[in-house]
């Protein structure tokens, strides 16, 4: 039982519980639509609803057939491969470019800092559909439409702002005299960057990379505009699956994606703790 301070009257208590249950309500609103997918993906029937057997927890009502369906369908396999292929290379590109940009922007001598920052972050703010339309026309000129390279570049552009933000945040706590110390000991700027700066901003770089990967992994608008049939990604496949062949395969894929996201979130949290520990050491 909740212990209230002695001065709490009836209305205080009522307010307390009202706030608490509203919070639970909001939490449920956010999470339930996602959680409901998980049991449905194990449905033995090709329906999007709970069968009587499922509600009675009859083991016969559950199966892995939709997971098997993913493996058996070469479209899904291609989509998964594409998603990882495009995601990984877009992440590498976004991480390298974003980190370099953040380091440059952190220099006290950098002119037009705010303007450049705003430009670099714009892919986060400009509506995706506008970027997609712009890229579509731009890419046709350079024969990039319908190619892996085109999608990788496009997704990297979306991921760069996340890397810039996370790396900038880590750099704000970075002591510039460490960089000077490296130089004074005879290490070139590049060597100092590699040996001193990179290890210390690594948590920011890694979490930025994860954001960039998730952005690419879950992106559908650019893919709709720019991808040819060969570059179908998971979201694109789900999108068409939803219209063409309605069966719980999508739910099985969604469940797997939830699993991947949880893994990402957990590793992000571990990284955050690690970086805090590193900073704790600094002072």
């Amino acid at each position: 039982m909740q212990r209230f301070p002695d001065y709490y009257g009836f209305w205080h208590r009522l307010g307390h519980y009202a706030l608490r249950y509203t919070a639970y309500g909001v939490l449920g609103f956010l999470v339930l639509p996602i959680l409901v997918i998980v049991p449905l993906s194990f449905n033995v029937e090709p329906f999007f609803s709970f069968t009587r057997g499922m509600l009675m927890l009859d083991p016969e009502a559950y199966s892995l057939r939709w997971y098997r369906a993913i493996v058996d369908n070469k479209n899904w396999i291609l989509a998964i491969k594409n998603s990882f292929f495009i995601g990984i290379f877009a992440t590498i590109l976004a991480t390298v470019l974003g980190t370099l940009a953040a380091v440059g922007l952190a220099s006290p001598r950098m002119p037009f800092k705010r303007l450049i920052m705003a430009l670099l972050l714009s892919p986060m703010i400009v509506p995706l559909i506008i970027i997609a339309a712009g890229m579509f026309f731009f890419y046709t000129k350079f024969n990039l439409a319908g190619t892996y390279l085109g999608l990788i570049i496009a997704h990297a552009a979306l991921g760069v702002p996340f890397v810039i933000i996370t790396v900038t945040a880590t750099l704000s706590g970075f002591d510039r005299s460490l960089y000077h110390a490296g130089l004074s000991m005879g290490a070139s700027p590049l060597r100092t960057f590699r040996d001193v700066v990179v290890p210390l901003i690594r948590p920011g770089v890694i979490s930025g990379a994860m954001f960039a990967f998730v952005t690419s992994f879950d992106e559908v608008v650019l893919v709709l505009f720019l991808a040819g049939p060969g570059q179908r990604t998971i979201p694109r496949q789900m999108f068409s699956g939803l219209r063409e062949q309605i069966n719980p395969t999508i739910l099985a894929v969604a469940t797997l994606l939830i699993l991947v996201s949880i893994l990402f979130l957990v590793s992000l949290e571990l990284l955050r703790r690690r970086s805090q520990r590193l900073r704790g050491i600094e002072e």
Binding site: D175, M185, A187
Partner: protein
């Protein structure tokens, strides 16, 4: 004393620095340093001393002028090619490396052999009395230990010069004094050349061969600690170093190095002329509290003037008397607490005495 062997190992020639192309932060800095000398740049914050150090290290560009190290201009040499060690105020130890790795870093960069690195790291760890601490990380050390590591790291590669930027600023008083001794000990043992920046005059006086006192981008005086304290070149130095009394007055007679000054508080004082003007010009007389004496018989003093006792401050090893002259000027007298300490009652007119060689006359601006 190192101050005597100025052979121009390090030379600043007409060095100027401006950040905005308008105001000069460092105005025409000239200095020569002997090999093995310990030079301190002393001054209030914003006086340009740190800027000089940063130009020396190569982290700031020189607006005009030259810096020559062992005869070679280094003004256009990249910082990492200057072979200059640096100790930072916040230690700047690499938090992701162990103490031994920190010390090894400058040697690794210089591609020394593994065996040589290991041997030298251990030797320097022993030198700073942290022989068993090689495997710890900087976070596991105390402030004083970290600064010793930072010092060793700046020395381990045998730099031609070591720069120290307020290295003891983050330590408490007791540790600071220990570290002063430690730095002096290492300096005497290894004989490296140092430029040391601080705003703490105690630190400067105890450690340096010579001190350059900075104010508003200009070196006010560059001399050995005792000269700086006992023969200040101008009123700024007299005020900045140690404690001083200042008595306003007018020059009435001038004879070579000596002047006679009529002070506004009443009476005449004979003083050594530092940078005072001719007869009739306004000046300031400075005399240190411990060089003033309260009315004693049997001694021969050059100057004597009357003052009223206002307050007496018992400090322990000495007593501080606050007097007031007729024009309201406050004069402090420091008297050692021994049997001869005079018993004075408040608001009693006393005679203050001083030798003329302890009094200095400065121009009053």
């Amino acid at each position: 004393m190192a101050a005597d062997r100025v052979d121009g190992y390090l030379r600043f020639r007409n060095v100027k620095k401006s950040y905005d192309q308008k105001t000069l932060v460092v105005k025409d800095f000239n200095l020569e340093l002997a090999k093995g000398e310990f030079l301190t740049l002393l001054g209030p914050s914003g006086s340009g001393k740190t800027t000089v150090l940063m130009m020396m290290a190569g982290f700031e560009s020189v607006t005009s002028g030259d810096i020559l190290l062992d005869g070679n201009p280094i003004t256009r040499t990249a910082p990492y090619k200057r072979n200059i060690g640096m100790v930072f105020q916040n230690y700047a130890l690499f938090p992701h490396m162990s103490i031994a790795e920190n010390l090894a870093y400058p040697l690794k960069v210089r591609k020394k052999s593994k065996a040589e690195i290991a041997e030298r790291v251990q030797r320097y760890l022993d030198l700073i009395e942290l022989g068993d601490f090689g495997n710890r990380t900087p976070g596991q050390l105390s402030g004083g230990q970290r600064q010793r590591v930072a010092l060793a790291r700046a020395l381990i590669f045998g730099p031609s010069l070591v720069l120290m930027d307020e290295p003891l600023g983050a330590l408490d008083k007791k540790l600071r004094e220990q570290m002063q001794l430690e730095i002096s000990r290492l300096h005497q043992k290894l004989g490296f050349t140092v430029i040391y920046v601080t705003h703490d005059q105690g630190e400067a006086l105890t450690m340096s061969d010579r001190i350059a006192v900075f104010d508003r981008g200009v070196v006010q005086q560059c001399a050995a600690p005792d000269v700086l304290y006992e023969q200040p070149a101008n009123a700024f130095v007299a005020d900045f170093i140690g404690e001083n009394n200042f008595l306003p007055g007018v020059v009435t007679r001038r004879e070579g190095d000596w002047v006679r000054v009529r002070i506004s508080g009443g009476g005449e004082i004979e003083a050594r002329c530092a940078d005072c003007g001719d007869v009739g010009s306004d000046c300031l007389i400075s005399v240190r509290p411990e060089k003033l004496f309260i009315e004693e018989a049997g001694h021969d003093y050059d100057n004597r003037f009357g003052a009223l006792l206002k307050t007496r401050l018992y400090v322990g090893d000495f007593i501080r008397y606050f007097f007031e002259l007729d024009d309201g000027t406050e004069v402090v007298v420091k008297v050692l607490n021994d049997h001869a300490a005079p018993e004075l009652s408040m608001s009693e007119k006393s005679l203050l005495l001083s030798r003329r060689r302890d009094c200095f006359a400065f121009a009053r601006k």
